[in-house]
């Protein structure tokens, strides 16, 4: 992922309104040493770029910009790589237009 595209999606997320449920992330990545192919796919497939590699080469998720589409659940839940729920009622993304 080059710098140009990473800037772009973050800029996009600035248009949106969120109510972040601090301390209660609705998605969790199972602890791992080496990421599975499914986890690696999420680095690209997540439309909000919530998944990133840390410096140990493991996949981490930051849900602040999550649009709750469920793509990562479809890809990563069957293998047990991630745990996925909706945010608590009222939290998360708040679409004005949708």
């Amino acid at each position: 992922m080059n710098a140009e595209s990473s800037v772009r999606v973050e800029e996009k997320l600035f248009y949106n309104r969120y109510l972040v449920d601090v301390g209660h992330p609705h998605i969790k990545v199972r602890a791992h040493m080496k990421p599975s192919p499914q986890l690696l796919a999420l680095l690209k497939a997540c439309p909000a770029r919530c998944y990133e590699l840390n410096d140990k080469g493991q996949v981490e998720v930051t849900v602040d910009g999550c649009m709750e589409c469920g793509t990562c659940r479809i890809i990563g839940e069957p293998s047990g790589d991630i745990e996925w729920s909706y945010p608590r009622g009222g939290y998360g993304v708040l679409f004005k237009f949708g």
Partner: protein
Amino acid sequence: MIEERFDAIVVGAGMAGNAAALTMAKHGMKVLQLERGEYSGSKNVQGAILYADMLQKLVPDFRDHAPLERHLVEQRFWIMDDRSHVGLHYRSEDFNEELPNRYTVIRAQFDKWLSSKVREAGATVLCETTVTELVENGFGKIIGVRTDRRDGEIGADVVVLAEGVNGLLGTRAKLRERPKPNKVALAVKEMHFLPRETIEARFNLRGDEGVVIEAAGTISRGMTGMGFVYANKECISLGIGCLVADFQRTAEAPYRLLDRFKRHPSLAPLIDGSEVKEYSAHLIPEGGYKEIPRLYGDGWVVVGDAAQLNNAIHREGSNLAMTSGRIAAEAICQLKSRGVPMTAKYLALYKKTLDRSFVIKDLKKYKDMPRLMHTNSQNFFLTYPQLVSKAMQNYVRVDGTPKAEKEKLTMRSFVNARSWTGLLGDAFRIARAWR
């Protein structure tokens, strides 16, 4: 412990849930509707074309007060390669009728309005409440729900699952499987604001006339997918969606695909100078008839996207959602007035009625289309669009090559790319799946 009882609980306040809650409340049932968003619509994403007929059945005078954007007078289909598009445009003055057939809407605003009708009809609508679990009585019957808002359970004779494409509760309760990556598409979308006059000039519209563009081709990079551009009053909704399995396979980032679509020379002038006010993402069920799960059981029914009721070929979903919600609700009202229990035996009436409606009939008609598109995505979304563009260029460019030779060249390019058997096979397969 059951604290409170309702005739029916509706999970979700999208198109299907609102249709169901409204229908039951109008029949005087005691209805509780639970929605996780701040308001109905705040989590929902759509293109969005609204089909009047299905809404009219719920709110007959909707045209007088619903937040409608434009009535559609023109439909454009574009086959795109990287630098061109071949288009089929259908525009008719017939669509400037007294009761137009299709409108563009803005989903968050539309849902909010429809939800106000649900409240007026007497349903209790509780937003900012995520349903976390279905409650079962130990014998497989669903008897209520648990939420993240209050302790304890809320009981009901029947639970209407209108929870949308992800269908988390139904999966958790093992009523149906999680959608598979090759049966759902991820769509990303933006709202581009422009002055009203600019939109009307660029799209050749008068007053509230509207237009939609649906586009396929190299924009999806060989993935099974489509782009769309919908004109609203003061904004343009545009986006692109492809199968999740294809995103997984190709490692294309969705927002890059969207950016490329926006920068396409056929599209860029239409949105030039616009102000983007939102970026959204949502899944769309694409599996069609073969992916429809069990639709009812003891104490529950499932409606709308959660039941995968979506006609991907015609880009129809909200109308199937509204219709399935209404039909399920009418069945429930009928059982209630007959005084029979909400068990699978009696709730079968919902499926029986739905089977006779356009919802299941249309999905059945196209039952083989999803597979055909998915297994041949390279041909349908990459090779053919490129060939069509080449053929058109060859046809219109005047360069002194004799016409007969030009036709031969075009024909040869098709045969080289797909071979005669490939071409005939594709034509045959499409004809059969469309039949």
